[in-house]
Every structure is written in C-alpha cells, then in structure tokens.
Amino acid sequence: MIKVEGLEISFGAGANQVHAVRGASFDVARGESFGLVGESGSGKSTVLRAIAGLVPNWRGAIIIDGAALGRKRPRALHKRLQMVFQDPYGSLHPRHTVNDILKEPLIIHGMDDRETRILKALDEVGLGAGYRFRYPHQLSGGQRQRVAIARALILDPEIVLLDEPTSALDVSVQAEILNLLTRLRQERRLTYIMVSHDLAIVAHLCSRIAVMNRGAFIEEMSSDQLRTGTPEHGYTRQLLLASKGYDRAAIDQFVEFD
C-alpha cells in the first residue's frame, strides 16, 4: 500500500542546514498499522508530513498503491490519505465551529450529502450531533482530538497518518481514542502509520515498529519483539529501559547514538 525508499529531507541551506531524514525506507501493507518511534527531533513528523505532501523538498521515492508520487499530488490522493496532527490545540481553527471544520474538506473535494456525512462522522467518533456547532475552546482535549479524527475520516480515506494522537490526553481518554482507532481500522480496513513516543501505545496499536534516530531508520521489529524486550539495536534497548520509569542510576548510563 505504502512504499518509501531512500527518503531524504533537508531544511534550510549552508551552515544552518538540517538533514532531518536520512535515507528512510519502509513498506506498509494494506490494513496494516505501522509504528514510528524515536528520539525527539529524529524526523518522525517530517516523514509523515512528506507522505502527506506537506514538505516541499524531498528526494527518494514515495509509492502509494503502485504509483510513485511527485512533488505535486493529484487531488484524488488527498482524499485517500489523511493526517491527524501532533498538536490538537493548534490544528483546529479557533473561530470555526465543528461543523465548519468538518464541512471544509467536503467543499474542497466537491462532495455532496454534506449534512449526512458530518452527522455520520460525528457519530463514528462518539460525539453526538450536539457538538456540531461548538467551537474548539468549548471542547475538552479528548473531544478536540475526536474532531481532528472525524475530519480525517470524513473523506473516507484508506490511509491515516497519526502523529502522537494521544500525547495531550489523559489516560482514560487515551484509552477511548485507542479503542476508537482499533475499531475503525477493523471496520474500514484502514492503513495507519502512527508516531508515538510511548512504546506501550505503539505496541498496542501497531503490528510492526520502526525506530528512528537522527533522521535514520535504525531498526524495524514486530510489536511482539518489542514486548519481549529483544530489540537488537542499543538505542532501542535504551528506549525500552527508559520506558520503565525514572531511575537516576540508569539515566547516567544513557549514551548518545549516532
């Protein structure tokens, strides 16, 4: 479904150039859920943004359903591929109601039956019609994230890119959102790529996981390998150790991996 080969992304030029992604390659099958973990600033969001067509300059190949993507994306592709952003506060327009937010993609893609689709999308994410005319500031963090997910689903996409979909939420709402994502994937055979720094969450939602460090993919493994604590790369083992909680002595042993 998704094939990424030798992806390279840089920002800026000269001395200030940031080489954000260095030769990333991976495959995701239809209906699969693929996880990306790794250090802060290692390029996880940038990989998702490149697939979504939000990064102007990249090299390498991004192939979706057999078709290699160029700089310019056909409009039909936007409909098939949607992204839920890292920041649930910043990604919803503060002066648009939930209805406006959900209607916008329908207008852009010239879809009819808007009313029905909006009500259906709200229902699917567990928000009733009563939330339709609320503004983002009148919603809790979890409700806002549901709106962001509803916006991503309203065009009936096949691929959903999820950037830290629950990191701003409390544990109970997080469980609700994870259950929702699991159910929707099963019902609609969606393909997910999810970024999260929480290893338990990635292992819960994803069957395969890639680890990034400083722009490069350093290891790929199954969620079972992660669960049984048998990753090969030292950086991944360090991540696993760190996810066990605060331990001052262990932290002093942390090393940087290049």
Binding site: F11, G41, D87, A200, A203, D252
Partner: protein, 282 residues
C-alpha cells in the same frame, strides 16, 4: 520533609460561566518542601488551576485560608511583590509550549531574554548562558537551534526550550505542568534528572503535574491524586501499585501494558460518591 517552601490550605478556584459556577478546585490543602511533589488526575480535575492559583495566574475566583511561600502571604501580595516572585523565585512551565513561545522571535533570543529580565546581564552574557542552558536541556547543535523560530523546532524541542526559559533564572520553586509530555522517553528522563539535581543540589521545590502515572510514581517523593477539584489520596514514591482509591486504580487500568496484548482497553467508570462535598452533601 524539611520546612515547607509553600503551604496551601483550603484552596478553591471557581469560574462563573453562563451555565453556572464551575468549581475547578475545591478546598485542597498541601505543602511542598525541598522535594518533588507530583499531581496526577484526569483531564479537568483541577491540576493546572491549582498551579496557576498559587501564582495568581488564573482568571478564576481564588479563595484560600493560606497560600504562603517562604513566609510571604501570596494571597494579598502587592503586584510588585508578585512580579518579583514570578519567574525569578517561582517559575511555571506551562502546559502548551507552542502557545507560550513568541512566534516571531528566535527560541534562543527568548531564553536569553528570560535571563536578562531577572539579572542585569548584558546581551553577550545572556546569549552565553542561553546556549549553556540549551546544552543542559540536551538540545543537540545548540548554536543552530538558538537561531530557529518556534515553528522550525520539533514538538519535543519546543518543550525543552520552555524548560530552559524557566530554569535559567534559578528559581526556588518550579511548577511544571506536563513539562515532558512531548518528549521521547529517554530525553524525558534526562530532563527530569536535571530537575531532580536542582532539587537535591540547590534545595529547590518541584510541583510536577502530569498524566503519566508510572512516570510520576517512579519520580516523585509524594503524589496527590486529584479528581473533580479534590484530592482523592496521597501516595508515596513507588506506591502507585498500592493505591487504594478506586479512581486511582481505574486510571492505572486504562494504560496499555507493554507486557501483554489487549484487544480493547478498559476506560474509567466514574462514581459520584467520590465527590462527597466537604459539608457532606453530594
């Protein structure tokens, strides 16, 4: 605990809204010494409002029998005293870093400025200190990052920039509201180790607000568990698994577990009895 840096007694925060009064914090009491105090609880339980009320940074109505910091009554302190205390003696790391950073100034300039307003340092010294601070919060290539604007840094880098701004004046008490939620686990622990060192070496007090129950449990000396503006129970470090209250147990249950696969995660079942009000009426 040593003599408390901060004592809070019977603190309440409420908001008048068109739909009636929202009681965000309902009569809570606690003390913070030179230690790491954790506050956990679900969204809307009053964690941030508790932190903000201490510094007089909430738009809500605050009432308390006592909010005392180092012998100073913060409830009726003159504006000048509060300005001196905020930032310099008590720093608050806010929950939404992107909103607290100025989008049109470089992140380095903002850290240097935080140093300059609290000291009489000149620009060069301030820049030097800001660069050192970026190293302290484990930002790679600090010179490069110094010149970036907020939209050019990753989520976790923005959060560390905020932390650097709050640490640079060397405060006595830090109120950190979800300070590490956007960081990967390794950097998260490294940043906590910095805060930990400041508690141990400089005798700083730390109020650490977070929804990461395991992290708080492994890091803090004591933990307040909040629900509906009240404190449900107080736990000692590492005692999360010995939590008694059904609410705390419910929260722990919601967490996906790396050790075992679950198809569906349990969600919290709330109970109105948890919120019996102080005068006994529900």
């Amino acid at each position: 605990m040593t003599t408390p840096l901060l004592s809070v007694e019977n603190l309440s925060v409420s908001f008048d809204t068109p739909k009636g009064v929202v009681e965000a914090v309902r009569g809570i009491s606690f003390e913070v010494g030179q230690e790491r105090l954790g506050i956990v609880g679900e969204s809307g339980s009053g964690k941030s409002q508790t932190g903000r009320a201490i510094l007089g940074l909430t738009p809500g109505r605050v009432s308390a029998d006592r909010i005392e910091f180092d012998g100073i009554d913060l409830r009726n302190a003159p504006a000048r005293t509060m300005r001196n205390i905020r930032g310099r003696r008590i720093s608050m790391i806010m929950q939404d870093p992107r909103y607290s950073l100025n989008p049109v100034m470089t992140v380095g300039w903002q850290i240097a400025e935080a140093y300059r307003v609290h000291t009489n340092a000149n620009r060069r010294e301030a820049k030097q200190r800001a660069l050192e601070m970026l190293v302290t919060v484990r930002i790679r290539e600090p010179e490069k990052v110094y010149g970036l604007y907020p939209h050019q840094v990753s989520g976790g880098m923005g959060q560390r920039v905020m932390i650097a701004m709050m640490l640079i004046p060397g405060p006595d008490l830090i109120i950190a509201d979800e300070p590490t939620s956007a960081l990967d686990v390794t950097v998260q622990l490294q940043v906590l180790a910095i805060l930990d060192d400041m508690v141990r070496d400089r005798g700083m007090g730390l109020i650490f607000i977070s929804h990461d129950l395991h992290l708080v449990s492994s890091f803090c000396d004591r933990i307040l568990v909040m629900y509906g503006g009240q404190i449900m129970e107080v736990l000692d470090t590492g005692a999360m698994h010995r939590a008694e209250h059904p609410y705390t147990k419910g929260l722990l249950n919601c967490l996906p577990d790396l050790a075992r696969r679950q198809e569906t995660l349990p969600v919290l079942e709330r109970d109105a009895d948890w919120l019996l009000s102080r005068d006994g009426a529900p």
